[in-house]
Each structure stands twice: as structure tokens, then as C-alpha cells.
Amino acid sequence: MKELDEKLDSLDAALARGLTQERLSRGQFLRRAGLGGAAALGLGSFLSACGVGGSSSGTTTAASNGVGSAAWWAKQKQAGTLDFANWPLYIDTDHGKHPSLEQFTKQTGITVDYKEVIQDNAPFYAKIAPSLQAGQSIGYDIIVMTNGWYLTELINHGWLIPLDKAKLPNFTKYASPIVKSPAYDNGNTYTVAWQSGFTGIAYDPKLTGREITSIQDLFDPKFKGHVGMMSDNTELGSAGLLQLGIDPATSTQADWKKAATVLQKQRDDGLVRQYYDQSYIKALENGDTWITQAWSGDIFQANASGYPHLKFVVPKEGVMHWTDNMMIPMGAAHPVDALEWMNFYYDPKIAAEVADWVNYLCPVPAAKQVIAKQLQDPGVANSPLVFPTKAMDAKARDYYTFKDYNEFKTWNGIFDPIIQS
């Protein structure tokens, strides 16, 4: 720890890293991997889809066997090993090593087997669900998933181990208010944030010719044929709801239909260039779109890699806030080690190291000082895309949390036809 600090003091850390290695965000990686991964995974999911037993029957839930209760946690012991599954390029990396994990090992004696195996929520869920249903371990102590239907399913089925808050003092002390007790997991019973981000609007001021401030701008006929919307129907539907002044988190099915009408009109009027996956950022960089729905971290990366003129805005109607969460799946072999890491990560020094590399929203506001003073990377420390202002936090909105499959299906039935016409 001390050794590292000394090294960092002797050199502008960000500069050194910039010179010695290529930085790729999770977004850029996905862009490069393109649909290849999706296509490859498609086959696996297709085959696994052939087994179609119900996943709610025969499940051992936390309630039924006491896993995750205080008494259960009291019996668990540290094992000295941690199996951690995460998304690609989503942790600090230096010449193939992860300094934050190495410090963790040094301090706690726990060795970490870190695997970048999660490409997308749906296929990963499809991969682990059969094992969890059969009551088998999936081989990981921590997995990272975005809030949304698949995470809700994990919670509904009782496939996550309730966390022992007493062992997470750093989370209690340092976590940002916007990641505490989110709508999809009240009281952080099962999850704590890894990174989060905003889905707002990005634009190219040269092409729009004016400053963008509102969701309404996505519906402006002046930008006909050059508006990018997202093909993820949760993002698309939420934008429609915000445009109508409805908070997605508390919206009703009637609201969804109203939002669909607005979005259908936007499409029929020829405003929408395309419904994009991760490739929206390329389209914005190429000038195909002038204004687009966008994820905050990507715009930070684009600004740093040759597109400094692109802008990200938090629209005045509100900005969607998504969170990638750490959680412990049922059957995890080393739950205590997993908790230990979660707590360790919320130490501002460690969160700072990860944030300085990953550049999404950091769930630990105190990390800002560390990045500014010790890591000496003001570009990251002062960026509102990594450490949002209070005003931005106030605009953050939660997604609607589906209660059951039928709600999820209704939502899909309302918004998919717009994208897939």
C-alpha cells in the first residue's frame, strides 16, 4: 500500500498509464466485440432454452433454510479464496494485473480468482439459472448484474444470499445516497453497487446547432432522421415516460401505453435514425446521429479518446440511473470472503483506484479526494460523469421494477413493436 503510494507520488499516474497501456472501457470493448459475442451466446441460450421447467418450483429459498440469517452468518468462516465474476474491463488493470485485488490479497490473505465472464445480463442469467434452480453452486462468490428484470428474478427466486450489514461498515459509512436502498432492493438486502451510470442524452453541438437541455429535444422534428434511441426496451420506454413527465419507477400500465404512443409517433415521423445497442456511440462519433440516448461512462471515454466536442446532459425532466451490483449467489462457497471484498472495495482509496480506471459513476463520493490528491488525476476527479453533482443526483430516476413475469411480458409487448417494426 505504502509502496504504491510512493510510486504514484513520483509520477503523474494517469499520464504514466496513458503512455504505457491502452485504456478500453467496458463500452468500447463491447463495441469492438460487437455482435460476435451476442451471436455466440445466442446458440448457448437457444440450447438451454430447450429445457423449460419452471424456475420457481423446488427452489431452496433463503427463508426456508435460514441462509443469510444472522445465525447462519455467525457460523460461516473465512476461506481464504474468492471467486469473482465480473464484466470485461470493469476493474483497474495494470499489465494484466488488478492492483485493487492485489492489495486485498495482501491485506486479508484472501486470494481472488477474478473472471471476466459476464457479457450481458440476459445470457448470463440464462446460464446460471438452471444451476441455481437445482440448488447447485454456480462457482462464483460474487457476481455483478445490472438492476432490471434478471436481477429481480434472482431476488424473487431467493437465489441470492442476504448480506450481513454488520460486516459492511465501509458501505454504511461511504456509499453515495443514490446507491443506498434502491427501489429494486430495499435496504440493500441482497446487493451493493459496484459502479453505476446515467442514461441521459448525448449530442454533437456542431450538428444540433444549439444546446440541449430536455428530453423533448429527442422529439424535435429539426433533428429528423438523426435521433438515436436505444434498442433496450427498458431504456426506450423510460425515455418515453420521462418525456410525458411521468416517473418511470411509479408508472402504471396505462402510462406505458401513453409512452408507447409518443415513441411510435417519434418513429413514424421519421425522427429516429435507428434503435441502437452499444453501437450508438459509434453512430454519434461518426455523425450519423446528432442527438442520442446515451450512457454517461461512454461519453467520458469518447471525450478522452478523440471526440472532446461531444456533450452529455442530464435532461431537466430527469435522468435514468442504473446500477451494476455485486451480490452473493446461493450456494457460494466463500460468502465471508465475498463480504470482506465488498467492504474493502468501499474504502475510498480502493474505490478511487477502480473509478480512476473504469470511469463510470463511482458509488463512493469520498474517492474524489483520493483521485484528486493521491492519484493526481483531476480529469477524472472533477468529472461530473464520475462524481455527479448534487443537482444531478437530484434528477436521478429509478427504472420501473417488474413484480412478475407477466408485467415484464406486458412491458415487452408494449415497447418491442416500436423497435421491431
Partner: protein
Amino acid sequence: MEPRRRTLAPYLLGMPGGVYLAVFFIVPLFAVLSVSLQTGNPDTGFTLTWHWHEYVTAISQYHTQFVRSFFYAGISTAVALVLAYPMAYWIAFHGGRHKSTYLLLVLLPFFVSFVIRTLAWQFILSDQGFVLGTLKSWHLLPQSVHVLSTRTAVIAGLTYSALPFMALPLYVALERIDRRLVRAAGDLYARPASSFLRVILPLSAPGVFAGFLLVFVTNVGDYVNAAILGGPGTTMIGNVIQTSYLQNFDYPMASALSSLLIAGTLIVIYLYARAFGAARIQEYA
């Protein structure tokens, strides 16, 4: 011993392939058919209820995408045929000793992943990219012109990815044509055009048929081109199936759509074979 082995040999030789097909084609096919007639959801499980409502919904909701897929596949196959035939003809008849080099060039695109090649087209055709951007900067095209996100882009992408699949069977068919027949046509005072139309073209029919099958069937279910090069209003049925399976976990709907796609494709192939293919192919082959 000898005669017995001879009678068994063909079956033994056919067995690995047959077993492979049975396990990896027939079984999944029936699984898909079965799931399409099931009712339920991923939480409660699915039960076989023999309800056909998924088919009704599939057709009423997605008939546009079905028709579009067959239309795009038909056009791209026809264009690929028109582009690939002269190329295959030239290699087969005038390729000389460099034939294999030319064939390698035809196959070269396969050395790069299909998805990456399609992404490259996205880059090349972007509004301010080096084709459109350059033409626009010379004022040869108005600023508003774009190729990406249009039907043209998707069909062009489908055609591009189909070319080698079309060219290879055509080349094989043209290559096997007995040159003496062509010479005989000339000896009988057939002009080059009519010797092509009455000798070469009919003899290459098996290649056309094989090329059509390979390309049309692949393209009708394609979802990569529409996803990468398309825009609103170019969604193909493959994209709908992909979303139903992978995002929505709506297995009965996805299976019903897949079954309809298989059925539709078989009907088209059957009609095509009746109209142009099978009889003539047997006659000439």
C-alpha cells in the same frame, strides 16, 4: 465375408453423419415444435397445452417482418446470382493456371469474422465516413443523404455476405461442363450468345440451384445485417426471434416464430424446385 461387408459399408459410412443430424437437427426441431405449443412462463414452467394461439399472435403481430425477410432474401439472392455468375464463369473458363488463386480471393472474406466484416461496412458507409463524407465534401451528394439504416444497406449487406456462397457452387457447376459441348455448339454455327444460353446456362443449373438454396435459406433467417446496417422499418424476423429468446425469455413465441420461418422457407424451396429446379437438374446433371 467380402459381399457382406460390401452391403454394410454404405450404411456404416452414412451412420456418423446420420446420427449427427438426428441428434443436432431432428431432436432440436421437435423440441422447438413442442415448445411452440406450450403455455406458461419461465417462473411457473411450461406445459404442453397444444394451444395454437402463439401462432395466431405471431402471424398477426409479425407478418410484416416475415414478408420483409422473404423479400430481402429474395432480392439479395437474385442480385448475388447476377454478380456471382459472370465472376464464376470467368474463373471457370478464363481463369487459366491462376484459377486457384482467384478462388482463394473469392474465399478470402471468410478469413475475417462475418460480424466484423459487417461492422466494417457500417464504418465505411457512415454518413461522414470516407465514401459518403468524401462525396459530400466535393458537393457531389447533398448532406442529408445516408445509406446506413436503410433497406438498401440491409439488402446490400445480405448480398455481400452471400457472394462467396453463390460463387462457389456456380464455379463448380461451370467447371465441370464438358468443353467439347461448347465447341460442338460453335461447330454447329451457334453464335456465342446462343451457345451460352442453350448449352452453358442449362448445364450450370445445378450450381444455380445449390447457390440459391445456400444463400436464400441463410439470408431469410439473418439478423446480423438488419441489426448492424438497418434502421427503423428494416427489422427482419431473425431479429424478432432473437429478442424473444434472449431478452424476453418468451420461448413459446420464439419457437412459434421459428417454426413458421422453417415452414415458410420449406414452402418457398419446394415451389422453387418445382418451377425451375429438380426436374431440369436431374435431366442435365
